[in-house]
């Protein structure tokens, strides 16, 4: 990929136009336990600039992760300005260039960045009209925006944006009250505008950070020790050094990096060094058959999430104990980054979800002034949360500093990624409930056990994998975001008496944010248990849920699912299951129905999955469907077969053989429908499907076999 800076308008002066200014916008981003990003005094030019050729460039602080944020943002901007979609370019997260919108996480890309862009574009639209009216001495009311031009309705004369702005950008502040385009006039928003990047993907054009190429670029690899806390006892680089094109083998305490002219030689050197170097091998990971007891034992902190009414379990109650193992992000392309240090400034190209927090963390690690850094977001392979993107970027920064003057590309190997990424925490969920005489839930007691669900660097070095090796210390990650553990731990149903407690442990494996955090396991447990209670009440599981819902949008989801599955004929070996959730209890509504069968060879097969999603205003329905289907399929894979395994030394799930995921033959027939609510605010959607899909699967398995799976993955109980 050639790194050509877009030619911006050469004259970088800005027009400051008097406008009622309300200087502060709070950009709250995914609550991952870090400070919220507050953009002081947001300006139009922070999000919106006019290009020389009359098109516009929109800056987003978010990353493209395959969720289609670029096209959604382009749609929103083009809409406010009545432009064609091809007249809008989108610049992804880059420090010093785009606004700091924190992490691309928590399903916040649309609700946060796209909404900021909408406001910036609306402000720009108004200022463009205002400026033209002053400049050409015309009535503002006689001017309209059309296809990137300002049109005088009276005589049909058109003025381009650069012409009106005279080579300047709009510096005005974005007021808090802005007149937005009327939704009834929308042309682009709410329609399935195709993404522009797919053409590049299918033709093999450069798209990813992995595709970056610079003149004389050096290829790097980093050595992994046998265990998290291994200490280097004998460093033996001699054999590896003899390989051709090896430039340098860098050792800093327990951190070893290889630089080579040729990528394959770098990879070979990594394998040789991993064999030749001697490390201490602490056998510190717990091995036990009583895993659940062990987790309860090591839990040290508790937090009451909710207490409502008074629990009273005198009447016979139903109890159930559920569990979920460690699971991995498992990006198809292992993490990769490029670094360049010119002796003064450090530049990093990364697929990190947060360029600003990464910059802060690397500055902290290497003692560099952030003013001497630039971090540029370039898409990578889908990440689904905090994978090794930040780690590889920090490692390449270390190597770049050691070897200035050349671009260095560091590629993690498959076993690096499988064995060293931060996983989604294992969790236990214990439920107890009983019914009143009308068959409604009376008491509900929920306890969960979990490790943290975010150890994102957040501007601090401690959470970067290389830090402790590089510094030769034992500082592990600081305790992360505990709140993620009880995301969706509160049921969305009307229940009189409730008590919900979360218990925290520091488990053996490195963990962080994985798509939907604790919501996946919590919804799995709650929605499995709803079926168990429905059975106790002698009610149909769907009706039982409807009996406990008051929110009409939730009710609509279940009714839609009922309708979609109404003409279904189930064979004797088949079962149908349902589940519902509202993500974070404040975001998208989602319901899933799943049909499974027990095959002649006793295997459980998922045959159909139906999804219904309500995300309020939909910017791009095709993108929403794509992400929802993807979320359902990914969740089905987690639920059916995934579990990170480890022995007393380290993780042993080091490739796709040891950690299988769904292949195409596992994919059921899919149907996703959207309930569009254009006059409601947009709701985060990217993680909405994870939890309910898993519960619908086990509920369907119960319907087909009479056996309830409470311990994930399903593979532990049935062959899949």
């Amino acid at each position: 990929m050639k790194i050509t800076r877009r030619t911006f308008i050469k004259n970088t002066g800005y027009v400051a136009i008097g406008f009622s200014m309300i200087p502060e916008t709070v950009l709250s981003y995914e609550s991952c336990g870090f400070e919220e990003v507050i953009m002081q005094d947001p300006r139009v030019k922070d999000w919106f600039q006019v290009l020389e050729d009359g098109r516009i460039l929109i800056f987003t602080g978010k990353m493209e992760l395959g969720q289609g944020i670029r096209i959604a943002i382009a749609q929103v901007a083009a809409e406010e300005l009545n432009m064609d979609i091809d007249q809008v370019e989108v610049h992804l997260a880059e420090t010093k260039t785009t606004p700091n919108e924190g992490y691309t996480a928590g399903s916040r890309s649309i609700t946060q960045s796209a909404m900021n862009v909408r406001k910036a574009a609306a402000t720009a639209a108004d200022i463009l009209l205002e400026t033209a009216s002053e400049k050409y001495n015309l009535q503002k009311q006689s001017l309209i925006l059309q296809k990137g031009k300002i049109l005088n309705k009276e005589n049909g004369k058109a003025y381009s944006f650069p012409e009106v702005l005279q080579g300047k950008q709009i510096e005005a502040a974005i007021p808090s009250e802005i007149k937005l385009k009327r939704k009834s006039e929308y042309q682009l928003v709410g329609t399935p505008v195709p993404r522009k990047d797919i053409l590049k993907m299918v033709t093999g054009e450069p798209v990813y950070v992995q595709d970056l190429r610079f003149p004389d670029m050096i290829h790097a690899r980093v050595i992994r020790p046998p265990a998290y806390n291994s200490v280097l006892e004998e460093f033996k680089p001699e054999k590896a050094e003899k390989l051709s094109t090896i430039i340098n083998i860098i050792r800093k305490n327990n951190f070893i990096g290889i630089l080579a002219g040729d990528e394959y030689q770098a990879q070979k050197a990594k394998e040789i060094l991993e064999r030749d170097c001697k490390w201490s091998v602490p056998a510190s990971l717990p091995q036990t058959d009583a895993w659940k007891d062990y987790i309860k034992e090591i839990s040290s902190k508790s937090e009451n999430v909710e207490s409502t009414g008074n629990l009273n379990f005198r009447d016979n109650s139903v109890k159930a104990f559920y569990s979920k193992p460690y699971i991995m992000h498992g990006s198809i392309g292992p993490s990769c980054a490029v670094g360049f240090f010119d002796g003064d400034k450090l530049q990093i190209w990364t697929h990190s979800q947060g360029v600003y927090p990464l910059q802060g963390a690397v500055a902290d690690l290497l003692n560099i002034n952030e003013g001497k850094m630039q971090v540029t977001g370039v898409p990578g392979s889908g990440c689904y949360g905090h994978n090794a993107a930040d780690d590889v970027s920090a490692e390449v920064a270390i190597l770049a500093l050691e070897n200035p003057g050349k671009h260095i590309r560091l590629q993690w190997s498959r076993s690096d990624e499988h064995g060293w990424e931060p996983y989604g925490s294992a969790m236990l969920m214990e439920l107890e409930g009983n019914l009143d005489k009308n068959g409604k839930i009376n008491n509900w007691k929920y306890e969960l056990w979990s490790d943290t669900h975010s150890t994102r660097p957040g501007g601090r070095k401690e959470n970067l994998l290389p830090t402790s090796y590089y510094e030769g210390t034992r500082t592990g990650p600081s305790q992360g975001y505990l709140g993620g553990a009880y995301r969706n731990a509160q049921p969305y149903y009307t229940i009189q008496n409730k008590k919900i407690d979360a218990h925290f442990f520091e488990g053996p494996l490195r963990v962080s944010a994985l798509r939907s955090l604790g919501a996946y396991a919590n919804i799995f447990a709650i929605e499995s248990f709803m079926d168990e209670l429905a059975e106790k009440a002698g009610k149909d599981p769907l009706e039982f849920r409807l009996d406990h819902l008051t929110d009409q949008r939730a009710i609509d989801i279940l009714n839609k699912l009922k309708e979609m599955t109404s003409n279904l004929h189930l064979a004797g070996n088949e079962g149908l299951g349902f589940a519902f959730s509202r993500y974070k209890n404040t975001d998208s509504y989602f319901g899933a129905a799943v049909k499974v069968s027990r095959e002649k060879d006793q295997r459980i097969r998922i045959k159909n999955m139906w999804g219904v999603i309500d995300s309020g205003e939909v910017i791009n329905p095709d993108g929403l469907k794509n992400q929802t289907e993807g979320g359902m399929i990914q969740s089905a894979s987690w639920t059916m077969m995934e579990e990170v395994k480890f022995d007393k030394t380290h993780v042993t799930s080091l490739d796709w053989q040891d950690y299988p995921i769904f292949r195409i033959a596992n994919i059921p027939h899919m149907e996703v429908q959207i309930i569009d609510r254009p006059y409601e605010p947009p709701l985060g959607a990217g993680e909405a499907a994870q939890g309910a899909t898993s519960a619908a699967i086990v509920n369907a398995i119960y319907a087909a076999t009479g056996q309830r799976v409470r311990d994930l993955p399903v593979k532990k109980t049935f062959s899949v």
Partner: protein, 156 residues
């Protein structure tokens, strides 16, 4: 270092490299092709697929020295923005991508499949695409894209 000659996308190349180097690294680094991707290096994920004499094959392990007499095709050799291969066209029209990292393997496998079976049913599609992993869960769109590509190819 050995002299190696390769035929890639109908062009002949003379290169110097360690003969053990897997084809993938040569394609990506020496020939600067972006189609084949590194995913695992173990022939487990299909990200690195190329057509070897019209058959999809992973390029991440096979030494470059053994494919000197083979006809190697990557995405770039199939079509470009102005003239797309029907399979590329079908994936584009179905918007069959999320992150898109697995797309190379899916497209190359589809082409290989359709050469052998111009009208594959679901079981044949499963067989044809089984080597390629997708983590984003875009599979249902891939299945539609393959069906569409088959229909397009039959029309040509």
């Amino acid at each position: 270092m050995d002299k190696i000659s390769l035929t890639v996308n109908s062009k002949k190349y003379q290169l110097e490299t360690d003969p053990e180097t897997p084809l993938l690294y040569v394609l990506r680094n020496q020939l600067e092709l972006n189609g084949p991707k590194y995913g695992c290096g173990y022939e487990q994920c299909g990200a690195c697929m190329v057509l070897l004499d019209d058959k999809a094959y992973p390029s991440c392990r096979i030494p470059v020295s053994v494919v000197q007499n083979r006809d190697i095709i990557t995405l770039k050799g199939l079509g470009n923005r102005d003239k797309l291969h029907p399979v590329q066209e079908a994936f584009l029209e179905e918007q069959a991508a999320q992150c898109g990292y697995c797309l190379n393997g899916m497209l190359i496998s589809t082409i290989s499949l359709l050469k052998e079976n111009p009208d594959p049913d679901r079981a044949a599609i499963d067989e044809g695409l089984k080597r390629v992993l997708c983590r984003c869960g875009t599979h249902s769109r891939f299945i539609k894209a393959v069906e569409k590509a088959a229909a397009k190819s039959r029309l040509r």
